[in-house]
Symmetry: C2
Subunit: 194 residues, 2 copies
Amino acid sequence: MSVAPWRSPLARALHRNRSLVYARYLQLATVRANNRPANRTVVFRGFLEDTNQLKFITDARSEKADQIEHQPWAEACWYFPNTREQFRITGCLTLVGSDNSDPDLDKARMITWQELSDAARLQFAWADPGKPRVQDPAAFNPPPPDATQPLANFCLLLLDPMQVDHLELKGEPQNRYLYSLDQQLQWYSQEINP
Amino acid sequence: MSVAPWRSPLARALHRNRSLVYARYLQLATVRANNRPANRTVVFRGFLEDTNQLKFITDARSEKADQIEHQPWAEACWYFPNTREQFRITGCLTLVGSDNSDPDLDKARMITWQELSDAARLQFAWADPGKPRVQDPAAFNPPPPDATQPLANFCLLLLDPMQVDHLELKGEPQNRYLYSLDQQLQWYSQEINP
């Protein structure tokens, strides 16, 4: 695979905003079964090796797991405060759970689990997210899960971009570039009005 | 109208994050005509007087104007970096354009225009957003529009919340509250698992 042309401005934005831990947070929009949008903050966890796919993690018990089965299209909106630029990344999501049968993705899921902090891993052992609050404190203080073998509800979430809209608010007046995949799955870019 | 119960934690978050200009930026998700999500950063411009509706502005020429006609449901995701909390605000959008016939909304649109900075107003006189870049610099250097009378393509955009999901990451373990409108259009809240 070739590295997509939007990877370079995105890498630059990540570098220039590296002083802000939340520069790695972005908002991921999906569509619910009732055709209404959903939107939540997720943490960027790098690219899947040798691809242009963005890695996130999620819980199989979360609403977005169901939403993705119904409609895999998503749009991530990523705003970088220091450099005042926005990337809108449109693409398809793949949920890699415990029932996944692709050995490469299975390995990527395992490695992602192993790279998490203890605190991040622990959240997958908490009580069902979004359900009425369990008042027993033990529900949020479980024994630490195995650091090498992911819990069954742990999912690697991949976003495979088809279009990237990059807006630089700092330009004079502003700059905006649209990167798209053509029929031959080659990236091309065009400058558009901000 | 009564002030919704989620207004108080939201006001507190705005106050505690007031050192960050971008704490007033949030991500607004809509659904496109092809049933795929769209997501972009918008600026919070306060509440419509005597309501719980959030005010934003947009250009009638932007894609979201079309999306809203097709599907008025939206979800805003608002992350506050200093306090590490997120509000997910689900509701219906109303686009208030030059053809609007409600005198109160017409007045609100006018006032919102008048309260904008000169630079913000100027953007509504720029070349068509999202179209191939106009190379003539004059397209982005138009004469300043009238500061009292909005340009025809200027829209006030209102989000009328039906549900608000508030997550506090700083809690031990974390706190999450779901505010919903019941059949009598009264707000009720429940504590849910993070």
